[in-house]
C-alpha cells in the first residue's frame, strides 16, 4: 500500500479518517485532477482555449466520487487490492472520467480522436510518444522529440486551409491525410493539438444525449408501473437520509448532459416540488426560486450548508452508497420478477444492466 494512505487506513475512528481523507483529496488528488482535466479538456467547451468551468467541475467531481468510494472500501477491507501508488491510481481514475465526459459531450470529436490515435499507433510511418507527460505525435522518424512550437503553428495554418471531412475518411484515407498534415507541420506536435486541428470542421450537436432508448410515444403500462415502483422506493430512501445528505444529493441531481432531473419526481407523481422543499427543509418559495438554478454546483451547495466543496462530495457519496445498496436490492427483486414475463421492458432491463 502507498505509505501516503496509511494514516487514513489506520485512522482510529471515522472522524479522524474523514480528516485524513479530506487532506488526501485536497492535497493530492484535487491538484492532480485540476491539472489533468485542464489539459485534457483544454481544447473543448468554452472559448479562449479554456474548458467550460461546469464541465471541468463535473469531471473532477465524478472522479473524486470514484476515488473516495474506493478509499472508503480500502479502509474497510485493506486486503482487497491495496493501492500501491495513489498518484498513479488517481491519475488513471481522472483520465477515465475525462475520456467518458468527452465521449458523451463531444461524440463526433471523440470518434475522430479515437481514429487518429489508432492510426498514429498502428501505422508504421507514424508514431505517438510521450515527452514530459505530454502526448506527442508525428512521423515515426521524429519519435522521442519534444513538440515544436513552429510545427504547432504550421499545423494550424495547414489545417485552416484543409477542407477534407476528416470524420468521414476511411482508415487508409485518414492515414494519408494524417501523414500529409504531419509533413506540412514539419515537426512533432502535441497530439491534442493535432486532434483539435483535424476536428476544426466538426460541428457537435448542442446537446448530446446519453446512449439510452428514447421513447417517442407513451411508454408501456408495465414499464410505467416498474418506474413508479422504483422511484417510490428511492424517494422513501432519500427521505430517510440525514438532511445534509439529502441536500447534497438532490440539489445536484443531473443527467449525463448536466441538466437537472429532479423534475422527474413531480411529473411521475412521486413528490411535488413543495414536498421536496419540505424534505430538504427549505422554504417553498425559496426552493421555487432555487429550482431555476438547478442543478447547483458543489460550491453553491457548500455555501448553503456552510461546508467545503469536498465535504459536499463526501456527503453525496455517503448518500449514494446507502441508496446504491438499497436500489440494488430493489432492482434485483424487480429483475427476478421480470424473468417470468415474455416481453421485458427494455428500459427496465437496461436499468438492471446499468447497476
Amino acid at each position: 500500500m502507498d505509505p501516503i494512505l496509511r494514516r487514513f487506513v489506520d485512522a482510529a475512528d471515522e472522524a479522524e479518517a474523514a480528516r485524513e481523507l479530506d487532506d488526501l483529496i485536497a492535497q493530492q488528488a484535487l491538484p492532480l485532477a485540476r491539472a489533468i482535466v485542464a489539459r485534457k479538456l483544454s481544447s473543448y467547451g468554452g472559448g479562449g482555449g479554456h474548458p467550460d468551468v461546469q464541465d471541468r467541475d463535473d469531471v473532477i467531481g465524478e472522479a473524486m466520487v470514484v476515488l473516495i468510494e474506493r478509499l472508503h472500501r480500502m479502509r474497510q477491507t485493506p486486503d482487497e487490492g491495496a493501492i500501491e501508488q495513489f498518484e498513479n491510481y488517481a491519475a488513471a481514475v481522472i483520465h477515465s472520467a475525462c475520456a467518458h465526459h468527452i465521449r458523451r459531450r463531444h461524440p463526433e470529436r471523440a470518434r475522430l480522436k479515437d481514429r487518429l490515435r489508432y492510426v498514429f499507433s498502428t501505422d508504421r510511418r507514424l508514431a505517438l510518444w510521450s515527452t514530459n507527460q505530454t502526448l506527442v505525435c508525428g512521423l515515426s522518424e521524429w519519435r522521442g522529440r519534444a513538440p515544436e512550437p513552429d510545427a504547432g503553428q504550421a499545423l494550424r495554418r495547414s489545417a485552416d486551409r484543409d477542407e477534407q471531412q476528416w470524420a468521414s475518411l476511411d482508415r487508409s484515407g485518414l492515414a494519408r491525410a494524417v501523414i500529409e498534415l504531419a509533413f506540412a507541420s514539419g515537426g512533432p506536435t502535441e497530439f491534442e493539438a493535432f486532434v483539435a486541428a483535424a476536428a476544426a470542421h466538426i460541428a457537435e450537436p448542442k446537446e448530446v444525449v446519453e446512449v439510452v432508448p428514447s421513447p417517442s410515444r407513451e411508454p408501456p403500462q408495465d414499464l410505467v408501473i416498474e418506474h413508479r415502483h422504483f422511484l417510490e422506493h428511492v424517494w422513501a430512501e432519500i427521505r430517510a437520509l440525514p438532511v445534509r445528505q439529502r441536500i447534497a444529493l438532490l440539489l445536484n441531481l443531473r443527467d449525463a448532459n448536466g441538466a437537472g432531473i429532479l423534475w422527474l419526481l413531480p411529473i411521475a407523481g412521486i413528490a411535488s416540488i413543495r414536498q421536496i422543499a419540505r424534505v430538504l427543509e427549505i422554504e417553498e418559495s425559496e426552493f421555487a426560486r432555487l429550482w431555476l438554478e438547478m442543478p447547483l454546483d458543489d460550491t453553491a451547495i457548500g455555501g448553503r450548508l456552510g461546508c467545503t466543496r469536498q465535504q459536499v462530495i463526501n456527503l453525496r457519496l455517503s448518500a449514494r452508497k446507502r441508496l446504491f445498496n438499497r436500489v440494488e436490492q430493489l432492482l434485483t427483486s424487480a429483475f427476478e420478477r421480470q424473468q417470468g414475463r415474455a416481453n421485458l421492458a427494455p428500459v427496465s432491463a437496461s436499468l438492471k444492466g446499468s447497476v
Binding site: E87, N88, A99, R103, L128, L264, G269, I273, V327, V355
Partner: protein
C-alpha cells in the same frame, strides 16, 4: 382543479424555466392531475430519465480511458484487464459505442455481444471485481517510471511496461499457454522415443524474425533432413528441400501473428525418422506480429541497454529467450531489478514445467 397545463408549460416545467410563482402553480396542478402527468411523461421522455436518475444515485463506473479503448480494440489487453474491460463494455452503452465504432472503422473483429444472455453475470462480475484491482494494474498515465528507454515507447507499450511494474513481474502472452504446454498426438509417422532426436529451436516461444532459424540435434546416421511447417489447421506452410545440416532457414517469410507447428523428417538408409515423436509434445512456435516486432526491434536498436524495458517487452511478446537474456543483464541496483528477477523466475518456472 385548475386549468390543465399546456405542452409548453409542461416542457418549461421540466426544463426549469418557469418563474417561481408559475412553477408552484404548475406543481400544485400536477400533483392533482393525472392526465397532465401522463402527458408530461410522454413530452419529456421521463421514462428514459429514470435511467439518468438511477445512474446519478450509483457510484460512477470507471470507464475505459482513451488508451485502454485502443488496447481493447487492438486486442492487446490480457487477463484481468481484459475481463474488466469486457465486463464494462457490456455494461456501458457509451464505451460500447466507442468500441464498436472504432472496430468497425478499423476493420477489427466486432466485440461479442453477450448482454442478452449474460447481463446478470456481467452485473455480478462488475460488482465482484473491484475496480481498484483493475485500476491498480492498468495504465499509469501521468507518472512515468524512470527506466532507461521508457520515454521512447508509444503510450500503448508504456502502458504494458507500467502494468508489469505494477504487477511486480512481466507476463507471457495468452498464446504461450498453448504453444508451451501442448501434448497432442504427433502428426506424421510414428517412431519410438528412443529412435528419434530433439528439436531445439524455435520450440514453445515466439520469434522476432519471420524467417527464424530452425535447429535440431543431429540424428546419428542420418543422410539428410526435411523440415515441414504447418499452420494450426495442419496446412503445410513451408517445406525445406533435403538439407544436410541440422539447421535450416526458410527462404520466404512465414506470415506473422500466427502459431505454427514444425517437424523434421530424417532420412536414415531406407527409413524416415520423424521428430518430435509421440508422446513428446508438438513443437510449436509463434511468429510475432509486425507491430510488436517493430517495437522490440526499435527499442533494441535505439536503447540496447534498456534491459528492464526490453525484457518486459520481450516477455510480453513471448520472446522467452530474449526476455531471460535481458533480465539477467539488469544490475541489482536498477529500479526494475526486482521486477526483472521475478519475471526471470516466472520464465524459469515455465522451463521447469516443460
Amino acid at each position: 382543479m385548475s386549468t390543465h397545463l399546456s405542452d409548453l408549460e409542461l416542457r418549461r416545467f421540466a426544463a426549469g424555466s418557469l418563474a417561481a410563482d408559475d412553477l408552484l402553480r404548475a406543481d400544485d396542478h400536477l400533483s392533482e392531475c393525472r392526465d397532465c402527468r401522463q402527458r408530461a411523461t410522454v413530452l419529456t421522455g421521463a421514462a428514459a430519465t429514470v435511467d439518468a436518475f438511477h445512474a446519478h444515485l450509483s457510484v460512477p463506473a470507471t470507464h475505459l480511458s482513451e488508451e485502454e479503448l485502443q488496447l481493447f480494440v487492438q486486442g492487446r489487453l490480457v487477463g484481468l484487464q481484459l475481463d474488466a474491460a469486457t465486463s464494462h463494455v457490456n455494461d456501458c452503452a457509451t464505451c460500447a459505442q466507442s468500441v464498436d465504432d472504432l472496430r468497425s472503422w478499423s476493420g477489427s473483429p466486432p466485440r461479442s455481444r453477450i448482454r442478452p444472455i449474460a447481463i446478470a453475470a456481467a452485473v455480478l462480475i462488475a460488482l465482484l471485481i473491484p475496480a481498484a484491482v483493475w485500476l491498480a494494474q492498468i495504465t499509469r498515465h501521468d507518472v512515468a517510471p524512470s527506466l532507461a528507454g521508457f520515454d521512447a515507447l508509444a503510450p500503448a507499450e508504456q502502458s504494458q511496461v507500467r502494468a508489469a511494474l505494477d504487477a511486480g513481474a512481466a507476463t507471457l502472452p495468452s498464446f504461450m499457454s498453448e504453444i508451451a504446454a501442448s501434448r497432442e498426438v504427433l502428426m506424421g509417422s510414428r517412431t519410438t522415443a528412443l529412435d528419434t532426436f530433439a528439436l531445439t529451436a524455435p520450440v514453445g516461444t515466439a520469434t522476432l524474425s519471420d524467417r527464424p532459424v530452425f535447429e535440431w540435434q543431429p540424428l546419428p546416421g542420418a543422410l539428410d533432413y526435411v523440415v515441414s511447417i504447418f499452420d494450426e489447421r495442419s496446412n503445410v506452410i513451408a517445406r525445406s528441400d533435403a538439407v544436410m545440416q541440422a539447421r535450416w532457414t526458410p527462404s520466404t517469410p512465414i506470415p506473422r501473428g500466427q502459431t505454427y507447428v514444425w517437424q523434421v523428417a530424417a532420412r536414415r538408409g531406407s527409413e524416415f525418422v520423424t521428430a518430435p515423436a509421440a508422446p513428446a509434445p508438438l513443437a510449436k512456435f509463434h511468429i510475432l506480429d509486425a507491430h510488436s516486432a517493430d517495437v522490440v526491434r526499435q527499442m533494441e536498436a535505439q536503447h540496447p541497454g534498456s534491459h528492464v524495458v526490453l525484457g518486459i517487452l520481450s516477455m510480453q511478446a513471448g520472446l522467452r529467450d530474449d526476455a531471460a537474456r535481458h533480465f539477467r543483464l539488469v544490475p541489482p541496483t536498477d529500479q526494475g531489478a526486482e521486477v526483472a528477477q521475478r519475471s526471470l523466475e516466472r520464465l524459469q518456472a515455465l522451463e521447469h514445467r516443460q
